[in-house]
Symmetry: C2
Subunit: 554 residues, 2 copies
Amino acid sequence: MTALDDRSVQSTVTTGPITGSEKVYHDVHDPDSGRTLRVPQRRVGLSNGSHLDLYDTSGPYTDTTASIDVHTGIPATREDWIAGRGPVDGASTQLAYAKAGVTTPEMRFIAAREGMDPEFVRSEVAIGRAVIPANRCHPESEPMVIGKNFLVKVNANIGNSAVTSSVPEEMEKMVWATRWGADTLMDLSTGKRIHETRERIIRNSPVPVGTVPIYQAVEKVDGDPAKLTWEIYRDTVIEQAEQGVDYMTVHAGVLLRYVPLTTERVTGIVSRGGSIMAAWCLAHHEESFLYTHFEELCEIFRDYDITFSLGDGLRPGSVADANDEAQFAELRTLGELTHIARSHGVQVMIEGPGHVPLHKIAENVRLEEELCGEAPFYTLGPLATDIAPGYDHITSAIGAAQVAWSGTAMLCYVTPKEHLGLPNRDDVKTGVITYKLAAHSADLAKGHPRAQEWDDTLSRSRFEFRWQDQFHLALDPDTAQAYHDETLPAEGAKTAHFCSMCGPKFCSMKISQDVRKYAHDNGLSTVAAIDQGMREKSAEFAEQGNRVYLPVAE
Amino acid sequence: MTALDDRSVQSTVTTGPITGSEKVYHDVHDPDSGRTLRVPQRRVGLSNGSHLDLYDTSGPYTDTTASIDVHTGIPATREDWIAGRGPVDGASTQLAYAKAGVTTPEMRFIAAREGMDPEFVRSEVAIGRAVIPANRCHPESEPMVIGKNFLVKVNANIGNSAVTSSVPEEMEKMVWATRWGADTLMDLSTGKRIHETRERIIRNSPVPVGTVPIYQAVEKVDGDPAKLTWEIYRDTVIEQAEQGVDYMTVHAGVLLRYVPLTTERVTGIVSRGGSIMAAWCLAHHEESFLYTHFEELCEIFRDYDITFSLGDGLRPGSVADANDEAQFAELRTLGELTHIARSHGVQVMIEGPGHVPLHKIAENVRLEEELCGEAPFYTLGPLATDIAPGYDHITSAIGAAQVAWSGTAMLCYVTPKEHLGLPNRDDVKTGVITYKLAAHSADLAKGHPRAQEWDDTLSRSRFEFRWQDQFHLALDPDTAQAYHDETLPAEGAKTAHFCSMCGPKFCSMKISQDVRKYAHDNGLSTVAAIDQGMREKSAEFAEQGNRVYLPVAE
């Protein structure tokens, strides 16, 4: 039975709009091809008649007009874009096009999503400061960009392991993660049916999909790293490339001579791929085949326009090991490989730690940009402390906001189950929402042109007691409303000029509104006006009723 | 019926040790009084025979040898310390003693808790860079210090409101919050039985208790700010001082002329106390009585050794309003008041925002230290974005870690219910744990001598697959184990050399241990050794079995 025959999947996928939002499309004209590109947005309608359009990663699953069939997959929008163009300078990659001055439909689509100029997107991709993961064999994906001068992106890891979860579960995690804002997905399956799981995910994923090919390669040799060969690895990469994997993690920086640098660490090597390659290097006492065959790998990546995600196999697994010799030695090698990949017209991003205390985070970004030619940095967290298993989505969101503000382009989410187990559907949502807020905090700090509008729109609705607008504008409308209703379930409370935190007598917002109205009505909006004798006004204010509460609205 | 007659309370208070920990006391000799001070610690016993002692805020409730009776309250340990000393320079405050060169038992107790020299504690208090909130009428509290050169502290807000919760619920929140690490509590009750609730909390609280007296004062005038008078406020302060409130929030920096500065804000005035005082100032067109009577207030605070928490009544309630003229104008006034309070021998800390984007946080700390003579900064969050109601414990923990690293001495927690409702018992725990990890992240970054030992001890247990040790060392052992058991419930999994994230074949820690052992056994712990011809070793490694997994342990 192939995965696509398994009818049991369909029922498990979530569809329909996010509460309070509707799917809209902005039509963008592509002058080169004459095509019209339909750019999806999440539109939040407000009770005051206005609306806010937000970046939307959820694909057709939130479009009430779309018919979803996970067995046929979602529409292959990019198919004719890809068919309609040939190689430039021997490569058909977004990098090659950008360097040749070609603005692809992908770049125009992205420019519209980000509110940027298409030429700026092209120029960032051309110098390698941004990447567009878009395998020619994954035409279903909606183009997105990863780069420090764009919105900070969030990756969600899914995939089953040897001891838990199934294909239908992973399918739902894919739809669920993108519904809440995941910009890319990594399928880290290590158990049974790796190929089928991946096929199902890619054919239905509206976002780029990444993998770590070494996981499947080592499955092919019964889990024994020493039995790995370049040929087995290469064939696995080609198998995944044909399926449409958009970016691949390659731990080509774990060199034989770096392995001893990890032996005195508190937590040694914590990267799966890194430990597999370290074991291989020692077993054979040879240099990593990922390093010695890197140029051949570049040729394969170029032919599909797969983006390298150069893995940090020696990343620290504890704050004690952060920024040590092993970590930075590998980073220098990743820098060397970055320039080789680019010379083949292949896009590159660099993976980062891990576990790093707050005061050592900025140094990671500075070094990565310096050594890797500003290739987009893609970090896991980092966790700012090791002491909170069960809350590592938070310890890592603290580090993630900091590292994103410092220049990281994409954050790999961490769920509450990190270090403890495999995330379930709820954990996936918690991880994505937590990372979206960390990413948005960085977008605000970096001054992305569209970032603060969202905060201001929500805060205005809060100040004006437009509760439903506040819920609908929230990253997670359902949870926001559920928490509110826990203490004030009555419908009246949705329009009440107070909440259960202070109660009617003590609502500072209500008092503040009275103060504002009074100041406006009496021309007291300046310090000068206040300072001019206006004692006579005070009696008035009393008459107008300076009581600061309404009767409880229920 | 007085509060202390209500027998229904007892059953609701949680007692017993934290999972995997036991209460121990370190005896500290006080040479001045000849007393022995019993300093509580949370001892985590480890399966390798060692243990780790952690800072403990939970009081007698986690001591299996203690008999708890919430009707009589907990032991008044400080009673005879207080009785045994008179005023110096007209004041009996920790500040006055410190300036006079007296090292109080409180300071010695604190030095032992923090692993610092008593003389250092005294000197920090003497210059006002640290405060010891310890009302003479709250002898039950265990001394603690708030200052940038000590462990970052966490405050938990509790208290009922007009629309929800009861005295027994608040009692349990008090015990529950300190169990998980709250260093101080603020009773923000605004509803019925304010006096009784507070009495019950203070008599049973092992940590300092803070309040905002204006809340009770305005209740006395039917919630109408305009009816407030200095006399009503003063009498309320004295009533609370007699009960033993250790620090009080006073919004004395909300001046009449600052009110208009808020009228163009996105969210106006969001501080309850601030909005009440703003309404009063406009109603009377007079300067705030908190400001005009500040010196009288100092006399009262001095007599009880109550610490000022000068409130930021004009703090921003949205990122749009952060660091604006209104906020910083008030901060300048708080600086002026700080020096007046100190001249009366009264301790002072300064409250901070609120909602502040990442790039504007450090400026808040810099200005506060400059304008307020390095008085301890006590910040609410700040929230780094407004868009995530339901997750504001996280948006604020991101800002809290940043601001604490920058120098904030105490963080006021935020729960998932912020902006939506009143926190329940579970929310209180989530808020405290989240803030403890934010505070600890800052302690690590600031290099507190005892901070990293905790991380390293947990990470070693993780790397050595000592699962139970890992759970017991976690900030929240119960949640850590529950998450692990969700996917691998079998007892065998507690000793398994893998977890459900990767499964047995792919455990990087296991592979890394093999690599480490092999490198050690063969003297390959240096790059040089590796580089010397050792191909002959590789065959060996294969024989030793470079398989990287164990059979599933169940």
